[in-house]
Amino acid sequence: MAGNGSSAGTLARLRDRIARIEAGRGGGMPGRAALGHEEADAVLQGGLARGAVHEVFAEGRHSATASGFIAGLAQRICANRPLLWVRQDFSARESGALSMRGWRELGLDPCLLVTVHASDVESALRTAADALACDAFGAVVMEIWGETRLLDLVASRRLTLAAGGSGVTGLLLRVAATPLPSTAETRWIVRPARSPSCAAWQAWGSPVLETRLVRNRHGRTGQWIMEWKCDECLFRDVPFHGAQTYSQPVAAASADRPDRARVVALRRTG
């Protein structure tokens, strides 16, 4: 078919132009925030885009895991700028209120967190849209529990436009909800993963999550098991995950001890 090559070239040029236009819109803090997880960052072309809306979905029982994931994302995106967390009253009843001690334990700073307790979805949406439109915060998290018709394509588009205009990132935490069409940049489905097996006295390590990137407007999707490193404040690949047993260094025979006996400090329980 004649002209096929030239039309493909035109299409490529147009795509390139659109990409340029879209990239040019973001003000404030443009660019991408790397998660720290190498494969995920590669798929996301350097990290999560700022000045866009990202969605995280989780089942009702996994709300805390999803909260942890989104708190981690917010930390990576904000980088010492304040964070606004908008939640519905119902959500606190269903999945518990955010605990600042727990927030601190994840390596995050409660000083930079402002929480809005919205009475319903409508008020939460309006608050989030307002906060996204002005660049006071580094990111705005909106937590909505259950299905809602208010968060349709129009509402989602409004949030995306507000985020694009100000460069503030919107993070949407949707617990116990089915994904609807939206204009979000990425969509994640998060569930907890089992801790790597370890000694009986060592119940677990840092939070481990199974993340599925099910939608990515500008790239591939993927699925990873990540670990949130509380001290470094980044996501990492989980070593040895899935292995039922793995070897640990043990003290060699007493005659010749090239490897000194590792003193395993018992972790305090309180």
């Binding site: 001690r101 608050t127 307002d130 915060f137 001290d231």
Partner: protein
Amino acid sequence: MMEKRFPRIVVAKQNNALVISALDDAAARIGLAVGLPLANARAICPEIDVFDADEIADGKTLSGIADWCDRFTPLVALDPPHGLLLDITGCAHLFGGEAALMNALCGALTRQGFVVSAAIAGTPACARALTRHAHGRIVAPGEEARAIAALPVFTLGADDAITRGLRRVGLKTIGDVAARGRHEIAARFGSAFTTLLEQALGQSDAPINPRKPLPDFIVEKRFAEPIATDGAIAMTLASLARTLIAAMEKQGKGARRLEAVFFRTDGAVRVIAVETGRPVTRGETIDRLFRERLDALADPLDPGFGFDLVRLSAVRTDLVIQEQRDLDTHVRDNDEVAALVDRLAARIGSHRVVVHLPQDTHIPERASVPMPAQQHLAAAMRAEWLERIEGEPPLRPLRLFAPPEPIEVTAMFPDGPPAQFKWRHRQCLIAHVEGPERIAMEWWNRCEQPLSPEPDDEFMRLHPPQGEVAVARADGSALTRDYFRAEDREGVRYWLYREGTYEREVQTFRWFLHGLFA
């Protein structure tokens, strides 16, 4: 054709008898009077309409009238049961003089169906005495004693016993009482009465106790033709805001709490207030805050037949310190955060926008306290939180249930770690468990009901039990908790606790799910 109206009276219970507490003109004409028992009144005229007195409704009406009177002066005090005191110092000229002000006030109230008796004098006590006998008097400064000399003593408003006593000794008018030596009166009727007398005579003054604190700045706009449309209201507020800002700027002040008062032509008054986290110095900000507030009202502003007076007052102001902005963007960010917080608070209420402040306690649910962001933003940004321990996994959950949710737990042995539990109709099998971590309640904060040690136990008396035992309470609110961190087969991480220590505090355990880890 008008229906024939019977005389109307209001009765209230006094000393176990129903007596007349108020009546209308028709009732007065047939010889009824306040204080007459209802039985006597019925004997005089069987055809009367009787109503029960409702003091609460009276009080509401009086405070409604007081709201309306705010249009004349910001200093309005209640003088129960039927009076209002207005301090019109410096306000009269705005209405064309004292007489014109009184005419306007009485005329408007009469049109609304009230019977008014008013007087203007140098002291509240003097004016009050005049209203009870001579409506419409205006007493020039210094003339108080002469003006009230001829009034009967009951107009002073002293106790009934004092009034009766004065009459019994032949002192019928205030002039008679004033002519006696002050010490004689004080010896018989008490010093409180002489103070009242001196105030009435203008020899001493007591300030009135206004219902609302005097705002620092007030601007208002009156309309010959009442306004009712949203656009007109918004424009009025915007222009008032500009005037207010100009007035505050001269003194270097910014508004912390603003009130817009809308006076409706039919007498209803609506007050709408907004608070800000830091002093507002821009007219546009005020305008915007009020727009947010008006949009979010649950019962919208009802103009009825229109507002004839709109007032904007800065109830609380702060000195504005003009700071030199440096190149550090941090300062600018905080300003923007504060501005956004103010806007959100104006719309959804300041208690819904919160920051978190750390508390010095180890009780998990009290470790942080949410405070309104408007007032505590700066404090929260500087707050110092407990450092986490390097290399440890999270020791506290990210989400806490308030209150903790009861669960059914199966444990290997009574005070052992949980093996499985049922939460929200779901069975969770535990794969890993770590604990217990014992958290005792703060016995030093809760000594309201200490259990007394057994008197015959010498050891217990010498060594009172530490902490948890001394404060164990029947409702379980102060029981020791043993916390476990547990992970189920799926990987969900729970924070569970067992309430009470076995045999010291409880005989059977109750288990709760307190939080979820990320």
